[in-house]
Amino acid sequence: MPGGQNSGGQNIEVLDLSLMPLRDANARLQGDAKSAGAFFKVINPRGAHALACGLDSEIEVEVEGHTGYYCAGMNKLARVVIKGNAGQGVAENMMSGEVRVTGDVSQSAGATAHGGLLVVEGNAAARCGISLKGGDIVVKGNVGHMSMFMAQAGTLVVLGDAGDALGDSLYEAQIYVRGSADNLGADCVEKELREEHREKLRDLLGKAGCSDVDVSEFKRFGSARALYNFKPDNVDAY
């Protein structure tokens, strides 16, 4: 088994996707190496799909390079760091743990996540946080159109700008944007940024590694709750 030790003295197991099939790499990550603190490095991901998905223990995985769709999908407990860009649906339906991407992410990042933290150091494309159900997402760059569409719970923090139709048909999820958010989706409105929200922002920014950002620069957006029940007055929004 190739490997070595990281700076913290942990044993590192290297999984080389140019030498092993995806199934074997995932089986190893999902499998018996569940001792807390186990550290894996995945090299040569070559844009592979469904890499490190379905993890369910407190391991750490570092992926060296760009990944395809659904990297760290349905993650539980594990910490996955992608050193590169991630394709569609990174950390989709995450339950807990942390997924961090040093580059950009494609559409539907963090889709339907119930828990955990997704940090995107670059930009996120369309539909970031779509149908979010409780996870937290911090995007250091911009997010694309229809982000947080039908998001139910959880938080999206955007340090850059938000694309069109932000928070369309939003339920009880929270959105914070530092840059521009000029085009809000149906039933999404700007709300007052109170101390409890600043506290939440400070907490998330701290976890994301950008505690130097001034939380008072953010605007908060949430649901106007006008679309919660079918009413003739809402016909234009349907």
């Binding site: 070559r46 844009g47 799909h49 395809g68 950009d104 494609s106 494309a125 694309g144």
Partner: protein, 301 residues
């Protein structure tokens, strides 16, 4: 529903390696399109006053020399031709349209794949790897190439129904997605704009739309901007012209797209994994094209 790839060289130093760089890109998209594959390669422009036509005949024993002789004597032109498996490239003087008609009239099974000065289109049913092997794609040279692997949605799995579609001189278009208003648009283009359609495929309508706009004087970039308003449905397009290359995604942008650019080339693929073997990809600018934004290189602005 498909995989699409494109490679546009910004410097001539790599042109001998176009096919070698492009072939793995196409093959990597097999999962997205196992039914058929096709490529448009832009290389070896015909000399002044000459046109280049790629034609297909399903019969490997078809007598291409007899075709060339018949068409040359009909039209009073000299035709050079060379084989590439089931496809033949014919280079001739005269008008492209007259040549295309004469070729297709000669035998009902003959199909013109492309016409222009620079474009050659090769497409066949079967796995992308087999198609690439059949036509010797990896040894091809040129300035740019556009390719497609097809998972057929609503029209037949045939050679003619494979992408790229070419509806104008040196123009080709490939598509990932599914259009929803192509039937009315096809009727309009056929009835009022004199365009002859060869298939029931939605992508052929998109190609025809773009070539019609360009014939009316719009640039490639402008024609694609027009299409955002007129084409409904889901699409990512890659378009090639004699000296241009462009990418467009629909405003909803559900279908995937990745662009990579270095000083030497621009590469497009449905998924990043198709780009991993390109030289210098580690340091290339890699990004996802924005919805409803036309990206174009070369050609008339």
């Amino acid at each position: 529903m498909c995989g699409i790839v494109g490679l546009y060289l910004k410097t001539s130093s790599l042109k001998d390696r176009l096919g070698a760089m492009f072939t793995p890109m196409l093959i990597e998209m097999t999962d997205r399109g196992p039914d058929s594959a096709g490529v448009a390669v832009y290389h070896a422009p015909a000399s002044e006053g000459q046109v280049k036509i790629t034609a297909f005949h399903p019969d490997p024993g078809f007598d291409w020399a007899a075709l060339a002789e018949a068409v040359s004597s009909d039209l009073g032109v000299t035709i050079e031709h060379h084989a590439n498996d089931t496809h033949h490239v014919l280079i001739s003087g005269g008008e492209a349209e007259a040549l295309e008609d004469a070729i297709e009239d000669y035998d009902p099974l003959l199909q013109v794949m492309s016409a222009g000065t620079t474009i050659e289109i090769y497409k066949e049913t079967g796995l992308p790897e087999e198609v690439a092997e059949k036509f010797g794609l990896k040894d091809m040279k040129g300035s740019h190439a556009v390719g497609h692997t097809r998972m057929a949605t609503e029209s037949a799995v045939t050679t003619a129904g494979s992408h790229p579609f070419s509806t104008g001189l040196d123009l080709c278009l490939v598509h990932n997605g599914s259009l929803s208003n192509h039937n009315r648009l096809r009727e309009h283009l056929a009835t009022h704009r004199g365009i002859e359609f060869k298939t029931e495929n939605d992508t052929e309508v998109a190609a025809a739309y773009v070539s019609d706009k360009m014939n009316a004087g719009r640039s490639l970039h402008e024609a694609l901007e027009d299409s955002i308003k007129d084409l409904d449905g889901f699409y990512t397009f890659v378009v090639g012209t004699r000296d241009g290359f462009a990418v467009l995604r629909d405003p909803i942008a559900c279908k995937p797209a990745v662009l990579a650019e270095t000083d030497d080339y621009v590469a497009f693929a449905s998924e990043y994994r198709a780009l991993v073997d390109l030289p210098g990809i580690e340091t290339a600018k890699v990004w996802e094209p924005e919805p409803a934004v036309v990206y174009s290189w070369g050609g008339r602005a």
